[in-house]
Each structure stands twice: as structure tokens, then as C-alpha cells.
């Protein structure tokens, strides 16, 4: 994880002049026939792909108001052009949000609008030909669906919606991306993105229990498939496998231990992440959500809590209730059953940060903050949490709660520059189904705006720890930090900070 030639960054960010075709290319690896078919998509590009694509576009825009309205409403004001981290990092004009949308919009105009049918040149309407499809594949896989552009658009035009629609169209004609589609196949079969089977999961959890016991002398449990537990914990599977994620998992376990609330993980639904969102497919996304609903019912839990994962939290918070009726207001059988089963005193689902924050508010956790005194911490707002969800049901809660949790565990907390945090946060560069080795150049370049901000904070405040609540952010940062002359180990989970400072009491009922 070292890099011999790290990029020396200035602490400010300049908007680059456009460099045409700077990121031209073939895009990421395509999904194999087997992978495609597993999700119900054609195994390879179908013969009449143009027609299939146009039909799918028509269907998509008739099912999603966002797509229809966004295609019409853009006035090409250019306000979003310098807001995308991929444009800022690559200077390729097709990475400007509006230009990215225009890849889709120009085809829409050509096939669906009067002006585009009769005056294509005047309004920039284009046919969907091989070149256009190549551009779609390449540039819609250079969008992390972070929604930063939408914050700055006067009409709230969200390029993420367009890139989801485009990926859906591409999947339907048989041009899917390997990384997300392969992973979705594993979730549907095994239950998590890793493809980690139950015995391996069980073994890993036991290993972690031993580790905590060795470190602290306290029996902290990481229960798996325990029926009638109070809480079902659904967390990104990276928390079981990767560094630094796993220390966050240990943090959750310690918090649960201290809270006295019984909890369990599920081997059937051992994944919070839902890549169905990235590929814009409603059914696939719903299937992921249904697994979790089934686990909740089977394990007869009273609450569902989601671990540190950015887009998972967006899906859980904003979509789960729609997809599966897990919150209140649903009227189908399962929803009603869930409403009876789940504890209505709590929002369903809840974020782990909300759970920990609540306990802190109620003074139920004690911390030895000096344990984190070697750290000067800053917080990276993950896009999907910042711009697609809320926490605590208070305005700006998604910004307030994680910071309060960090501050409860650390003495030194500083912010990065204002235009790079909260709703203006820059994506880590690896979100939206792009966290794959075949896109590493893009990932390094896309991280640049965040790295600038971090560099500034390092120089001004001596920041040495970057905390995040997203599995993708954590993996992406540990990979790209060395490219920018940072220590890859500076990225931590928020619950790792909690884990290091929390004071464990032996008295809890988890004694064995």
C-alpha cells in the first residue's frame, strides 16, 4: 500500500480547462454471459440492440418522473459543470454532469422529441449508434451517482438518476458491468457481496470475539443467527473481511455490549450494501431488500439496524419502506406482520450511528477520550448519507450525529473546508459501483478533490485521521491515500474511534 511517486498536491482546487477525450476508453470489464443471465439480463449484446434500447428508454422515462423531467428541464446553464469530482480530477468534458446527461439526452431528443426528430443539429440530438453506446458504457461508468451535481442545479437535476437509467438500458441490451453484476449474483446466492459462506462468517466472528477478549478482558459477543434477539444488525460484508472496516464491526459489538440490548447478525442477510441501486434496477434492488425483511421475520427481531455503509443507508432509509414496507404505513400482509413485530418506539430501520448517538445522549456509554489523543480527526461525509438520507429525524441530522459520536470519543476534531463537507461533500471517488481495480486510474483521479481538502486540513490542523461511515469510502481511501502522499492507515471507521475509547463494563449480561 505504498506508492513511490505520490502526487504532491497544492491545498486548493482549481477548475481545469477541458481536455477532450482525456478519459476516453473502453470502460470497465463487461459482465460475462453467466453473470448477466443470473440477473435475468441477456448474456451478450442482443442483435436488435438499438430498438431494445430505445424501447427501454421509453419504458424508463414513463416509470420514473425524475428521468422524464430531468431530460426536459435542463437549460444548459453550466452551473453543474465544475461540481463533479470526476471532471475536476480528469478534465474530460464528458465528465461534466450536464455533458454526461447529454449522452442520454441527445438520444432522447432524437427519438422522442419533435425538435430532435426534425432539427437534430439545432438541438444537439444524436442517434444511438455504436459510438454513442461506447460513450455510454465508458462515461456512465465514470459517475459514482454521488448527487453532488444535483445540489448545485437550479432544478435539482440529479445525474445519478440518468446514469442509473442508462445502466439499466445497457443491462437490458446485454452490455452490463462485471463488478456490480457479479456481486449481485453472489448476494442473491450466498447473501453477501463477498460470497462469504456461513461457516467462514461464523469463524471470523468467533475470531473477533477472541480478539476483543484478549485486548480488553471482556466477553463481547458477535452473535450470528440468534432468534428472538432485540436487534437485527445488517452491515456491509466488508465489515467482516476488510481493513479498516473490521474494527468498526468490533465497535458496534462493544456498543451493543454496553447497551445491554441483545443483537444478532444474520447469515442469510449478511449484506447491507445493495448494488441494485447502482445498476438502476428496481427488482434487483427490491430483492436485496427482501432478503433483509425475511431475515427480520425469521429471526423475530424487534428492531433493524444498519451498519456503516453509505449507499446501503440511502437504500435502507429512503427506499426500504417503499420496497418492503419495513417502516410504517404499509398495508400488505408482510408489512402488517412487520409492523406488529417491529418495535414502533423506534424508527425502522435505524442507523448504527443513531443507536450509538442515542446511548451517548442518555449517558449510557462512557469513554476514555484520551485513548484517541494521538489522533486529530476529520470526518468525510459519504455522498449517499449526506445527500440521500437523514439521521435522527432532525434537520441536518446526517451531518450532526456522526460528528457528535466522533466528538464523544475524541478530543481533537476538525473540519475540512466548508465547500467539501456536508451536502457539498466530495465523493471518495469509488462509489456507485466503480470500486473495482479495472477503474483504478479513474478512482485515483476522482479522489483528487477530497485529497486537496484533506491536504489543506493536514497542513493547517495536523489532521492524521480520516473517519468515514461507508465501506466503499474506507476501501477506496486505503487504496488511494498513498497516491497522494498520505498514510493509508489514516482512514478509520467512526465506530473504530468509538471502539478505541469506549470503557467496557464487565457487569453486562453477556457473560459466559
Amino acid at each position: 500500500m505504498t506508492n513511490d511517486n505520490p502526487i504532491k498536491l497544492p491545498t486548493y482546487l482549481e477548475v481545469p480547462a477541458i481536455k477532450k477525450d482525456a478519459m476516453a476508453g473502453n470502460g470497465p470489464f463487461k459482465a460475462s454471459e453467466e453473470v448477466q443471465q443470473g440477473l435475468g439480463f441477456p448474456g451478450e449484446k442482443v442483435d436488435n440492440w438499438q430498438q431494445v434500447a430505445i424501447d427501454k428508454m421509453a419504458e424508463t422515462k414513463s416509470k420514473y418522473r425524475s428521468v422524464q423531467v430531468f431530460l426536459d428541464a435542463c437549460v444548459k446553464c453550466g452551473a453543474c459543470t465544475d461540481k463533479c469530482h470526476y471532471y475536476l480530477g480528469t478534465a474530460d468534458p464528458k465528465n461534466m454532469p450536464v455533458a454526461r446527461q447529454d449522452l442520454f439526452r441527445s438520444v432522447y431528443r432524437r427519438h422522442f422529441t419533435f425538435a430532435g426528430k426534425y432539427f437534430p443539429i439545432l438541438v444537439g440530438a444524436k442517434d444511438l449508434d455504436e459510438n454513442m453506446l461506447d460513450d455510454w458504457y465508458n462515461y456512465f461508468h465514470q459517475c459514482s451517482q454521488c448527487r453532488r451535481c444535483a445540489v448545485y442545479c437550479p432544478y435539482g437535476i440529479d445525474t445519478a438518476e440518468i446514469s442509473m437509467a442508462a445502466r439499466e438500458v445497457m443491462n437490458v441490451i446485454g452490455a452490463g458491468q462485471k463488478y456490480p453484476n457479479q456481486i449481485l449474483g453472489k448476494v442473491n446466492k450466498i447473501g453477501n457481496n463477498l460470497g462469504m459462506p456461513e461457516p467462514a462468517l461464523r469463524d471470523t466472528l468467533e475470531d473477533l470475539e477472541d480478539e476483543i477478549k484478549d485486548d480488553t478482558g471482556v466477553n463481547v459477543k458477535l452473535p450470528l443467527d440468534v432468534k428472538d434477539a432485540e436487534v437485527l444488525m445488517v452491515t456491509p460484508s466488508a465489515d467482516f473481511f476488510a481493513e479498516p472496516h473490521i474494527d468498526g464491526l468490533i465497535g458496534y459489538a462493544k456498543v451493543f455490549h454496553e447497551s445491554g440490548v441483545s443483537w444478532t447478525l444474520s447469515s442469510y442477510a449478511s449484506e447491507a450494501a445493495n448494488f441494485g441501486m447502482f445498476i438502476g434496477n428496481y427488482d434487483v434492488m427490491r430483492q436485496g431488500a427482501l432478503r433483509i425483511r425475511k431475515a427480520a421475520i425469521d429471526l423475530n427481531v424487534r428492531r433493524v439496524i444498519v451498519g456503516e455503509c453509505g449507499h446501503a443507508w440511502r437504500v435502507a432509509y429512503s427506499f426500504w419502506n417503499t420496497l418492503t414496507g419495513i417502516g410504517s404505513g404499509g398495508s400488505d400482509d408482510y408489512s402488517l406482520r412487520l409492523q406488529r413485530q417491529l418495535d414502533s418506539n423506534y424508527p425502522q430501520p435505524q442507523h448504527m450511528i443513531e443507536f450509538t448517538y442515542d446511548l451517548i445522549q442518555k449517558n449510557k456509554l462512557s469513554f476514555d477520550k484520551s485513548k484517541n489523543d494521538h489522533r486529530v480527526v476529520t470526518f468525510h461525509d459519504s455522498c449517499n448519507v449526506a445527500r440521500g438520507s437523514n439521521m435522527g429525524d432532525i434537520k441536518n441530522g446526517q451531518f450532526i450525529l456522526p460528528r457528535e459520536v466522533i466528538k464523544a470519543a475524541c478530543n481533537h476534531f476538525v473540519e475540512m473546508p466548508k465547500n467539501t463537507i456536508k451536502s457539498s461533500t466530495f465523493c471518495c471517488g469509488g462509489g456507485g459501483g466503480l470500486l473495482t481495480d479495472d477503474l483504478i486510474e479513474l478512482r485515483v483521479k476522482g479522489a483528487k478533490p477530497r485529497m486537496h481538502a484533506l491536504k489543506k486540513t493536514e497542513q493547517e490542523n495536523g489532521v492524521n485521521t480520516l473517519a468515514a461511515i461507508c465501506a466503499i469510502c474506507k476501501s477506496q481511501f486505503s487504496k488511494v491515500l498513498p497516491n497522494y502522499d498520505f498514510d493509508p492507515y489514516m482512514i478509520v471507521s467512526v465506530h473504530q474511534l468509538v471502539s478505541e475509547a469506549i470503557v467496557l463494563s464487565e457487569s453486562s449480561d453477556t457473560e459466559v
Partner: protein, 107 residues
């Protein structure tokens, strides 16, 4: 499909079939990456394979580091050391040399 010493690999260089693996393949792969396999490398590779045989899955990095700590001493049982052996990551590069499938997901 690309091949290495007659065994099929995917576009990222991972063996398609775990059973195709031979030590020569590990050597050839590491050579391509500019790494000479030391006994420490082999400890990691062997552990990965043993674990995989039992669980049909690669061990979590934490599990791996602890196993290595037991075998090679505590000073080597940490992720920094493993990264010095496998600069592209002990999980990914290690699995590739060991002939195991690539760990996917947000890792």
C-alpha cells in the same frame, strides 16, 4: 481466455479453476508482478489455501494476520507487513497467487 502455464485465467488474472493451481503458477504470477516469492510469501499462500479448503472462502485480512502472527511471530502479524509482501493487497494479490477467486465487494 488468457492462460498462464496452460491454466485458464480471467481478465484480471485469477485462475478460473482452483484445481488448476500449481506452485509453478504462483511463481509465474509473482514474476509477472515483479515479486520473488520468499518463504514468508509461501506461508501466506499456504494458509490461504488451507483456509479456503475448509471454508471455500478466503480468510478475512484480520484472520490472516493473526494466523501469520502465530506462524512468523508477532512483529509480522500486521497488515503493514502483509502489504509489504503483497503490495496490491494480501487479500487480492495473495488470493491470486494462491489460485483462489478474487474477493469481491466493497473491499
Amino acid at each position: 481466455m488468457a492462460e498462464i502455464l496452460g491454466a485458464e485465467v480471467d481478465e484480471e488474472g485469477y485462475l478460473l479453476k482452483v484445481s488448476d493451481w500449481t506452485p509453478e503458477i504462483a511463481n509465474a504470477m509473482s514474476e509477472e508482478d515483479g515479486i520473488e516469492l520468499s518463504p514468508e510469501h509461501w506461508e501466506v499462500i499456504n494458509f490461504l489455501q488451507e483456509y479456503y479448503k475448509e471454508y471455500e472462502f478466503a480468510p478475512a485480512v484480520r484472520v490472516l494476520t493473526k494466523a501469520i502472527a502465530k506462524k512468523l511471530g508477532n512483529d509480522k502479524g500486521n497488515s503493514r507487513y502483509l502489504y509489504s509482501l503483497f503490495p496490491y493487497g494480501p487479500a487480492k494479490q495473495g488470493c491470486r497467487f494462491a489460485g483462489l477467486p478474487k474477493p469481491t465487494g466493497c473491499v
